[in-house]
Amino acid sequence: MSVRLQPELRNQLIQFGIGDWNACYHCGTCTAICPLSEKGFLFPRNKIRLMQMGVKDELETSVEPWLCYYCGDCTKSCPRDANPGELMMSLRRYLTSKYDWTGLSRKFYTSGVWELGFILVFAALVVIAFLFLLPAYGFKFTTELTAQGGVQVNAFAPWEYIEIFDWSMAAVVALLLISNILRMYYKIIWKDGKTTVSIWTHIREFWLLIYNFVVQPRFSKCEDKNYWLSHWFLMSGYTIMFIVIVVYLEWFQTDEILPFWHPQRTLGYYATFGLLFGLFVAIIGRIRKKRIKFQFSHVSDWLFLIMLTLTVITGILIHIFRINGMAWATYISYIAHMAILVPMILIEVPFSKWSHLAYRPFAVYFQQLKKHAVPRKSNQ
C-alpha cells in the first residue's frame, strides 16, 4: 500500500498547538516510559513520526491520541525537549476538528476571533431573550418576595420554559456530538480497510464504555493520583449539574427555600464544590506551570477555564441572592449565568475541550474493538 505524505500538515498542526515538531530524534524513551502505551497501541513516538512525515491518513484514523491522559512523564524524560505530551494534546485538538463535520471546531481552535465572536453573539441572544422575549409571554421581574423571603425566580424565568430550552439545546448538542462520534468510529474502525469487527464484539465490549466513563480508570494509571481526584471531582460535579438542570429542572429550580439537608441543596453544593475544586486545581496549575500538562496552554484552554469558572460563580450568586431575597441581583446573575453557560455548552461540548468527555471513553471502546478485530476478507 502506498502512503501519501503531506508535509504541509505540519503547518496546520502548528495552529493546533504543536510546538517544535522537528525536535524528536526517535529514541523511543517516551513510548517506553508512557504508562498507557501498550503493544499494538504505541504512542507517542510513532505518532510524532507520522506528524513529521505528514502521513495524514494514518494520523486521522489513529485512536492512540485519545488513550493518552497527559500525565507528562514522556515530556519529563524526553532527551530532546520535544514535548511529546503536548504533541499528543495538539493531536487531540486536531482530531476533534477532524471528527466535526461542521468545520466550526477547526475555526474555534485556530482562530480566537471566531471563538470570541461566537460567544458574544450567543450571549447577546440570551440577554435579548430574557429582556424581551420572556416578558412578552407575561413573565415579569418582580421584587415581591415569597413568604419565606426568597426571590420568585420562576416568576421571571419559569422552569418549564427554561427546561424546554435546555432540552432543545441538549438535543442540538447531542446530535452534533453523536454524529461526530460516528465519524470518529468510522475513521478509527473502518477507514483503514484492513480489519473488521463482529457485531457481537461491539455488544460485549460496550460495558467497558460505561465503566470508563464513570470511573476513568486510565486516568488513575497515570502516575499522579491527586490529579485524578481533582479531575474526578470536576467531572462528577459537571455531570450532576448537567443532569439536574436538563432533566430535573422543576425539582432544582424552586422558589421555595428548602432546608439545608434537602438533597436539592446538598447535591447542588456537592456539584458546586466539585467544580470549584477541579477548576481551582486546574487554574492554579496552569498559572504555576509545575505539572507538565499545564505548562503549555492553548488559547482554548484558558477560554474554557474562564467561562466555566464564571458560570459556577454566577450560579453561586443566584443561589445566595435568591435565598436572601435580593431580587434584582438575582435576576442579573441569572441572566449573566445563562449568557455564559449557553455559548460555553454550545462550543465546548460538541466542538472543543469538553467533547473529550465523550471521545475518551469511546476511544477506549474502539481500542477494545480493534483488539478483537479480524483481518477483513478481501472482496473476491
Binding site: 523511543g28 524513551t29 517516551c30 517506553a32 516510559i33 504505541l42 524524560s77 532527551p79
Partner: protein, 598 residues
C-alpha cells in the same frame, strides 16, 4: 559605549622600511569607513614640522592621532609634542605598528584591519603586541598521565628535553589502564600501555610526579612558574620494594579508586599491580594511625627500614617551564543522576567503566563476568563467588545527547558498547545480549566493519532507548520501544550496563581559571581553532592533548598527544613561543562597531 573623539590618521612608510605587503588603498578605504576619522595623511605628504602639525590639529579639531605603518615609533615624540602644544592630551597618540604586531604578509590584512579598528575606535580588544616571545625555560610540564599525557611526555623526552609529568592519582595510565581490550582492534590494552608507562618512569628526561597536583601557574608564555603540591605518599618511592607485606597487615579498608569502587583496597595500597610508579602509598583519609594515632601495623611489617614514614607531610615545589601540555582527560557521567535507571539502587546496574574492570583479566574476577554482590559492610563489590549473568542489556547514550544532561555525543560509547558485546560473547558463550541504541556511531577506520562483525555475532541490537529499569527478585525489567519493528519490548535481564558518556574531569574549571584558557560549551578546554589548531590554546605555550579537549578515543588522544608535543619541540628548537592568537575576527569588530553606532 563611549565614542572615540575625532581622529587624524598618519600612514607612515619611510623608504628605509620594508614596503607594505598589501595595497595601501585597501587600508585607506577601510580607515575612511570610520565616522570619527577626520583626515588621513599619507607619507610623505606629512605636515612635518611641529608648527604645521599644531596647525593641523587645531584646524581639524583633532582629539586623537593614530600613526599607522612600519617603524612608526620613531616619529611618536614629534606627534606627542605637537599635541601638547595644541593644548591636547599628548597621550592620545596611538601607534598601529605593523611590525610590532606581526603583520608581515598579504594574508595578514585582516589582522591589520583588526588592529586599526582597535586603535581608531579606542575599544579595548585583546590585540597584544609581540607575536613571538622568547622562551626562556626549555622544560615542559605535562598535566595528567593518561594515554595522551604519556604520549606527549615521551615524544618530548625523546627529543632530549626535560618533562615534568604531574599525575593526580597514584599511578599513570589513566582510564586506558583499566581496560582489557580496545576497540576496534581488540588489542590487549595493558600490552600496549604498560611498556609506555614503564618507559615514562625510566626515562632520564622525565620527572614523574605522581600523587601530585598543580596548585598555581604564574608567568608568561615561554616562562611559567608552576607551584606543584606533592601529596604525601608516606612511602619512600626510592626504597619501597613493592613486596606488599604492609598491605597484608593493614586493617583499614576502602573502595578502590582504580576499580571504580568495585573492590576493596587497604589504607596502604598500590592502585593496581602494574601501577607506575610500582610503589605503595598511603591514603591519609583511611589510615587509622593518622585518624586515631594508633596502629602502625604497616611500619612494623615493612622489611625496609624507614621506608614508611607515617608523619610525612604534603610538600610544594616550584618548577619553571616554557610550555605546558594539559592532558587531564575525562570523568564518566554520574549515572545516578538518571534515577530512572536505578544506578546505585540496583546492584547489577553497572556503569561501563565498572564493567571494564569485570572484563579485565587482571580485574577483581580475573576477567570472568559475575553478578555484583554485597560484602558484609554493605559495599557492592565484584567477586568470583557469585553466579554468572545470562541475559545482559547495554543501554547507549546514558547522559549524552540528552538536553537534560549533556547535549553532545560522547563519541566512544557506541564503539565500546559493541566491544562489550563481543567480549561477553567470547566469555559467556550462552549469554544473550541486548544493545539498546538510538543511532550507531561507528565513524572511525575499521569501526563500521567492527559493527558489522558484532551484528553477525547474534547480539540483539535494538533501535530504541529504554526509559526505565525496575527490579524484582534480583531480575531487572526493562521496557523499551523497538522502533524498527514498531513494537514494545518488555525484557527481563540479569545485568544492565549503562554506556555512560564522557564529561570534563573535575579540575577543568579550576585549571582553566589558573591558566586563563577558556572552556567551551559542555565544559571542555577550548582549543584555539577546531580545524587548524586543535592542540593550541589562546595562551601561548599552553597546549591541549587527549580528552580534556573533547570526547575522543585512544587513537585520537594519542595523535593529539604527539601533535601537542610537536608544537612544544618546535618552540624549544626555535627558542620562541608564538602568540599569533590575539587576532580578532572581522565579524567581531563589525559587531563592536555596530554597538558604537547605537
Amino acid at each position: 559605549m563611549k565614542k572615540a573623539g575625532s581622529t587624524g590618521v598618519f600612514i607612515y612608510n619611510p623608504p628605509i622600511a620594508i614596503p607594505y605587503p598589501f595595497d595601501i588603498t585597501e587600508i585607506t578605504c577601510y580607515l575612511s569607513s570610520f565616522p570619527n576619522v577626520v583626515r588621513i595623511w599619507q607619507y610623505p605628504d606629512f605636515p612635518w614640522s611641529e608648527k604645521n602639525l599644531v596647525k593641523m590639529i587645531t584646524e581639524h579639531q583633532l582629539e586623537r592621532l593614530v600613526i599607522v605603518g612600519v617603524l612608526c615609533g620613531t616619529v611618536k615624540t614629534l606627534f606627542s609634542k605637537a599635541m601638547t602644544l595644541a593644548g591636547k592630551n599628548p597621550r592620545h597618540v596611538y601607534l598601529a605598528s605593523f611590525d610590532e604586531y606581526g603583520i608581515e604578509l598579504t594574508k595578514d590584512l585582516d589582522r591589520a584591519k583588526s588592529l586599526l579598528a582597535h586603535m581608531i575606535t579606542d575599544i579595548p580588544m585583546e590585540v597584544n603586541p609581540a607575536g613571538i616571545q622568547p622562551i626562556t625555560q626549555p622544560a615542559t610540564l605535562v598535566i595528567g598521565g593518561g594515554i595522551a599525557g604519556i604520549q606527549a611526555a615521551l615524544e618530548i623526552a625523546y627529543s632530549n628535553n626535560t618533562v615534568y609529568l604531574v599525575e593526580k592519582s597514584g599511578t599513570i595510565g589513566g582510564k586506558m589502564a583499566t581496560f582489557d581490550k580496545t576497540f576496534p582492534t581488540l588489542d590487549c590494552a595493558a600490552c600496549i600501555l604498560t611498556p609506555k608507562m614503564v618507559e615514562v618512569n625510566q626515562h632520564p628526561f622525565i620527572n614523574l610526579m605522581s600523587y601530585a597536583e598543580v596548585q598555581d601557574i604564574n608567568g608568561s608564555p615561554g616562562n611559567y612558574t608552576v607551584k606543584i603540591l606533592k601529596k604525601a605518599r608516606k612511602v619512600n618511592v626510592q626504597t619501597c620494594i613493592g613486596c606488599g607485606t604492609c598491605a597484608e597487615k593493614c586493617p583499614a579498608q576502602e573502595p578502590s579508586e582504580f576499580d571504580f569502587g568495585t573492590t576493596m583496597r587497604k589504607a596502604i595500597y598500590i592502585p593496581f599491580p602494574q601501577a607506575v610508579p610500582n610503589k605503595y602509598m598511603i591514603d591519609a583519609a583511611s589510615c587509622i594511625y593518622i585518624k586515631n594515632g594508633k596502629c602502625r601495623a604497616c611500619v612494623k611489617a615493612c622489611p625496609v627500614p624507614d621506608c614508611i614514614n607515617l608523619d610525612e607531610q604534603d610538600a610544594t615545589v616550584d618548577i619553571n617551564v616554557g610550555n605546558i601540555i594539559v592532558a587531564t582527560g575525562y570523568k564518566p557521567f554520574n549515572a545516578s543522576r538518571m534515577a530512572e535507571f536505578g544506578y546505585g539502587k540496583f546492584p547489577n546496574v553497572l556503569t561501563s567503566l565498572e564493567f571494564e574492570r569485570l572484563l579485565n583479566a587482571s580485574g577483581p574476577t580475573g576477567g570472568n563476568i559475575h553478578l555484583r554482590s554485597q560484602d558484609k559492610k554493605g559495599n557492592w563489590i565484584f567477586t568470583a563467588d557469585t553466579p554468572k549473568p545470562h541475559r545482559i542489556a547495554i543501554i547507549h547514550c546514558v547522559g549524552s545527547r540528552d538536553k537534560n544532561y549533556n547535549k553532545y555525543c560522547s563519541r566512544v560509547c557506541c564503539m565500546y558498547s559493541l566491544k562489550f558485546s563481543h567480549l561477553v560473547m567470547e566469555k559467556l558463550s550462552d549469554a544473550e545480549i541486548f544493545e539498546y541504541f538510538i543511532d550507531m556511531r561507528s565513524f572511525g577506520k575499521g569501526y563500521e566493519e567492527f559493527y558489522e562483525r558484532i551484528k553477525s555475532e547474534e547480539v540483539e541490537i535494538i533501535r530504541g532507548k529504554t526509559a526505565k529499569i525496575e527490579e524484582k527478585d534480583g531480575k531487572l525489567f526493562i521496557r523499551g520501544e523497538d522502533i524498527l519493528k514498531n513494537d514494545l519490548i518488555e525484557n527481563v535481564v540479569d545485568m544492565v550496563i549503562l554506556s555512560v558518556g564522557l564529561e570534563p574531569s573535575e579540575d577543568t574549571a579550576k585549571l582553566s581559571a589558573m591558566m586563563g584558557i577558556p572552556i567551551s560549551e559542555g565544559g571542555w578546554f577550548n582549543e584555539l581553532s577546531y580545524d587548524i589548531e586543535p592542540t593550541a590554546t589562546i595562551r601561548g605555550g599552553i597546549h591541549l592533548a587527549g580528552t580534556c579537549q573533547g570526547p575522543k578515543d585512544i587513537p585520537d588522544s594519542v595523535a593529539q598527544g604527539s601533535a601537542a608535543a610537536a608544537k612544544v619541540i618546535r618552540s624549544i628548537l626555535k627558542g620562541t613561543v608564538s602568540q599569533e592568537h590575539d587576532f580578532i575576527p572581522q565579524e567581531k569588530i563589525k559587531s563592536y562597531l555596530a554597538e558604537i553606532e547605537k
